[in-house]
């Protein structure tokens, strides 16, 4: 069930409104550390990106934060991360075939070469939660929604009973990540189907007008269902809301709440995933 349906309706009503680009002069704020990355329970090399905030209209990629000391700990073992191109990339990788363990709490510790916002020490923690099995997925074309129809991607899985569960769902089209920005990722709690068998809920609505990203018959579609923490669920939701501001439905804009200490921005998350594939018919 989608609490954002009213927004969809409002957007349709306001389709008639007009827009024009404007020039605004905005102030600056102090520079903050940005953490963006995750680890999973599947073996692999995982990357943490460190960058710095900039002025809103900076119009260049976030400056990279290089030469930091980054490590990961599960409370007993410490795993060092190394910068892929030292002094240049700002991307810090785990050892190859690193695999998180379900039920453990992982903390990312960062020491910066020089102080940012008054400190060199940052950390972020996330629990790694086990995920239910994604049984199968299905694609359905609905010509009646929108101008050229929509592709619906449906999910089949058992929601584990007895707990509040939070899900993140990613999609791959022909092995390429379709949910390539955080705003396309789907997140959901189980408020509406707690403990039920999820018998084909629509997870993605893909607009067939968007030729560059719609589905075509014969495509291989893979879904990744991940169990995430409440904090990460809230974070993704807030990021998705931070982009839209429709006066009718939005509250006052506010800073997204991540899990990085000392006023850092962004999120370090840990999760486990289950996959299922189908061929578009």
């Amino acid at each position: 069930m989608n609490k954002r349906i009213p927004i969809i309706l409002a957007v349709a009503i306001l389709a008639a409104s007009c827009t024009e680009k404007i020039n605004l002069k905005l102030d600056s704020t102090y520079t903050r550390l940005i953490v963006d990355g995750h680890i999973k329970s599947d073996p692999g090399t995982y990357s943490i990106n460190l960058t710095k905030t900039s002025d809103y209209f900076a119009n260049v990629p976030s400056p990279r934060l290089v030469n930091a000391m980054v490590s990961l700990t599960d409370g007993t073992t410490t795993f060092p991360l190394t910068e892929t191109i030292p002094g240049i990339s700002g991307v810090y990788n785990t050892e190859p075939a690193f695999a998180g363990k379900i039920g453990k709490n992982y903390t990312l510790n960062i020491t910066l070469p020089e102080a940012l916002a008054g400190t060199t020490q940052y950390s972020a923690s996330s629990e790694l939660i086990g995920v239910t099995k994604l049984d199968s997925i299905q694609t359905v074309f609905r010509p009646d929604i929108g101008k050229e129809g929509h592709w619906l991607v449906k999910l089949f899985a058992q929601d584990p009973p007895g707990s509040k569960n939070y899900y993140m769902i990613n999609l791959y089209r022909n092995s390429k990540l379709w949910t390539d920005t955080i705003t396309k990722v789907s997140v959901s709690d189980n408020q509406f189907f707690a403990g039920n068998y999820i018998n084909g809920i629509d997870v993605f609505y893909i607009n067939n007008e968007h030729k560059w990203e719609t589905l075509y018959v014969g495509d291989t579609v893979m879904m990744e269902l991940s169990a995430i923490t409440k904090e990460y669920y809230d974070f993704v939701q807030q990021v998705q809301q931070a982009g839209i501001s429709i006066p009718i439905f939005s509250g006052p804009p506010a800073n997204v709440i991540g899990n990085v200490s000392n006023n850092g921005v962004g999120f370090f998350s840990a999760y486990s995933s289950s996959f299922a594939k189908t061929i578009v018919k």
Binding site: M1, L9, I22, T51, I182, A194, I201, G251, P253, V265
Partner: protein, 784 residues
């Protein structure tokens, strides 16, 4: 228990006034009383002036047209007048109680007399009432309107001290208050959501409405329950003399009203309907997605009144309206229903009573997916059942006592969502809330000498949460730590408020006066809404063990001066308001289908102040008003904006409204209005972070920036059919242009990533309406 205490206080208060005045009644007094009605349709005239020339004193008729004035025996000249009507002058020998029913006429041939007799209509100077504004339908109808749809709320938004919350919205802020701090009454029933079509139109169909009065402050003791204002709207009573059909055809909607006598001069009815047909154009749209959409609203108003005898009149009235929006995928509908039954009784020539039973209902439904597995339906509603009784006692020429009691039972269903068809969705239910809101009041308006009038009253309000109910407990971080359940019928929480209402008037002379007032108000029901504009998804929630009642103290003072035989009224008012326990919401608050909604609230204080300058014109040809308002409103709420003071969303310091209407001839009338307001305060991004290939804004302090100033000019011209006495069919044709100079006023600013270069961020202004011309045809038919 508390009730008994209230009654006791009330009794003490009443007996005090009566004993004081009883001593004065040494010489014998007689009363002149009766009713003022419109000769054409028999409807009562509210606020007509009854003036006694010899005594230089007078009174005004109440909302049922009744008046009473007590005088020592003698010969008196009584002038009964009402704006737009020819006055009636009677000479009365008062040696016993006199009943005087007066019928006033608007007939053109009589209008000349109005000029000659320059009768006294200096109510705004002489009445101990400030911070109010009364509008009749005739005035509202002359104001150019969006899509030609004449609208009460849009007219209200042009008054000094009133701000619209956003372009096109039916929400309004009075002297810095939030939109949910306005009590909107339709024939005594609360209207919880006054918006149609996301606010572009209000629920009030002009054809069915008689008049509107807004109290921005100095709120009479008879009203309570909201902090900022009372908007008191009365429906037409129906013509008790002849049958009438009124209608209108516009670009967006059509209206039809039928009224007439059931028993001549005794019983009449009115039925009025309106429906929009914007959706009929949708199939013509080139956008296929829009073609299957349904988007409309309708309204029905009905009222019957029956004069049982000279002393009793009964009214039954109702309103029902719905908005429907549907597309192939989802649908939404919402609307209000209200019903009122009122009995108006004259106990004697000095004691008037009104007793009413009211019902009000607001509900919405969202559904999607039909019988699909993803199908669901979501319902929420709010119902009120209320009773009230009000008594006016015209003790003597110097004292008018009013007292009354009211009680309303609120039933709130914040939301139930469940799957439909083969859906896998569980039912998600937010527990219902029940509460009883009561008030008891007494007040006196007392004239002291020739120059002073004082007004003092006290309202005691009581709010009780009644089981079944679940109350969550929260820790200092607003996380739930547990809950308590209360069984059905149990009163598990009680609040009461002592609300003094005071006013004083000093009249320098017939043309000028100063006034001051103080009012305390409590609010126990509020809206869980954190958007600036307002949505149909209204959830009202009551005060509770976790939510303290909101409280407001307002002081105001003003100078009032009339010119040119009262055809020009001017005033300056200043006010200051202190508000406690005002509510804002935490960042990214989840307000819908959330059973721990109270954990999303953040509570603090607010204050507002301002000055309102008004010139109101009532010349024969030129009418309208010009106003300038300077006003500020701030909030300080722990945990919002790091506890720092911030401007409220309705803080728009400078505000100008010019609303003018000019009658060129009997057949042609032109109108224009121009509004100017400082831009809404907004929070803008001042930094950015890239996360997951998306640029995330880092925001300024709350409301640290502003939109550009808002201003707009609207004009209209109306052509009337040839006036001919005895003509049965008349019509008028109205052309209007909204936003004449096509200003693109900002409705919102969106910050987006550029499609071509995702590193570039753009600010895009959204505006709703450019220049919009429209045409409306109205007709009127009466059958003698």
């Amino acid at each position: 228990m508390i009730y008994r205490k209230f009654l006791l206080i009330l009794l003490i208060l009443l007996s005090g006034t009566i004993s004081v005045t009883a001593q004065k009644e040494k010489s014998k007094m007689f009363s002149i009383s009766g009713k003022v009605t419109d000769i054409q349709n028999g409807e009562s005239l509210i606020g007509a002036t009854i003036y006694i020339t010899e005594k230089k004193t007078g009174t005004v008729s109440d909302i049922y047209g009744n008046y009473s004035i007590s005088l020592s025996p003698g010969e008196y000249t009584v002038t009964i007048s009402y704006i737009g009507y020819a006055p009636v002058i009677k000479t009365i020998t008062l040696n016993k109680d006199v009943s005087l029913r007066v019928e006033l006429s608007t007939r053109q041939e009589n209008l000349k007399e109005v000029e000659i007799t320059s009768e006294k209509t200096n109510k705004n100077v002489a009445r101990p009432e400030m911070s109010t504004f009364k509008l009749d339908m005739k005035t509202i109808e002359t104001i150019p309107a969006l899509f030609g749809e004449v609208d009460i709320i849009k007219a209200i938004q042009m008054l000094p001290g009133v701000q619209s919350v956003s372009e096109g919205s039916s929400g309004f802020s009075v002297r810095g208050g939030a939109p949910d701090q306005n009590l909107i009454l339709l024939d005594d029933a609360t209207v919880y959501n006054a918006s149609h079509l996301l606010g572009f139109f209000s629920v009030f169909n002009n054809d069915a409405i008689k008049d509107v009065k807004l109290y921005k402050g100095d709120i009479p003791a008879a009203y309570g329950g909201r902090l900022a204002s009372v908007l008191d709207i009365h429906m037409d009573e129906g013509n008790s003399k002849v049958f009438e059909i009124n209608g209108g055809i516009g670009l967006i909607s059509s209206r039809l009203t039928v009224e007439g006598p059931i028993l001549k001069d005794r019983c009449s009815f009115i039925v009025s309907g309106r429906r929009t047909y914007a959706d009929l154009y949708l199939p013509l749209s080139s956008n296929k997605a829009l073609q299957n959409n349904k988007l409309y609203f309708y309204d029905l108003n009905a009222k019957i009144n029956y004069k049982i005898g000279d002393n009793d009149q009964v009214f039954l009235s109702g309103y029902f309206g719905r908005d429907v929006f549907k597309n192939g995928f989802a649908g939404m509908q919402w609307g209000n229903g209200t019903g009122s039954a009122r009995w108006n009784h004259l106990f004697s020539s000095k004691v008037f009573g009104n007793f009413s039973a009211v019902y009000s209902d607001y509900r919405y439904r969202i559904s999607a997916g039909g019988s699909d597995v993803s199908g669901f339906q979501w319902d929420a509603s709010l119902k009120d059942f209320g009773m009230k009784g009000d008594i006016s006692y015209f003790l003597d020429p110097n004292n008018t006592v009013k007292f009354g009691i009211s009680s309303t039972y609120h039933m709130i269903d914040p939301g139930v969502a469940k799957g439909t068809g083969t859906s896998v969705f569980n039912e998600v239910k937010v527990p219902k809330n029940y509460a009883l809101e009561s008030g008891i009041y007494a007040g006196n308006e007392q004239k002291i000498g020739q120059k002073f009038i004082v007004k003092y009253g006290l309202r005691l309000s009581l709010f009780q949460n009644i089981g079944p109910g679940t109350v969550y407990h929260y820790n200092s971080n607003y996380f739930t730590t547990g809950s308590s359940y209360y069984s059905s019928g149990k009163i598990f929480n009680t609040y009461y408020g002592i609300e003094p209402r005071l006013g004083i008037l000093y009249e320098f002379n017939e043309l000028s006066s100063v006034k001051a007032s103080y009012a305390r108000t409590n609010q126990y029901m509020q809206l869980a809404q954190n958007s600036t504009v307002g949505t149909p998804l209204d959830i009202w929630f009551p005060s509770s063990p976790n939510v303290k009642p909101q409280l407001c103290d307002q002081v105001a003072a003003g100078y009032f001066r009339n010119f040119r035989h009262n055809t020009i009224e001017t005033s300056v008012e200043v006010y200051y308001k202190w508000m406690q326990h005002v509510i804002d919401f935490k960042d990214f608050a989840v307000l819908l289908l959330n059973d721990s909604l109270e954990g999303q609230l953040r509570v603090g204080k607010a204050w507002s102040y301002g000055a309102e300058f008004l010139i109101r014109l009532n010349e024969k040809k030129l009418s309208g008003w010009v106003s300038y308002t300077y006003s500020r409103v701030f909030r300080q709420i722990p945990l919002i904006n790091d506890g720092k003071t911030y401007p409220a969303p309705y803080d728009k310091p400078n505000n100008v409204a010019i609303v003018l209407n000019y009658k060129i001839s009997r057949r042609i009338m032109v109108s224009a209005n121009w509004v100017y307001a400082t831009g809404n305060p907004l929070t803008f991004p001042i930094g950015r972070a890239e996360i997951g290939n998306k640029i995330i804004p880092i925001y300024s302090d709350r409301n640290a920036y502003r939109y550009q100033a808002y201003h707009r000019l609207d004009i209209s011209a109306t052509l009337f059919s040839k006036p001919k006495p005895g003509k049965k069919f008349t019509w008028d044709l109205n052309f209007s242009v909204y936003n004449v100079y096509n200003r693109h006023n900002t409705w919102s600013i969106e910050f987006t990533q550029n499609n071509a270069d995702p590193n570039v961020t753009d600010a895009t202004k959204v505006y709703l309406f450019g220049i919009i011309p429209s045409i409306t045809f109205n007709f009127h038919f009466n059958h003698e």
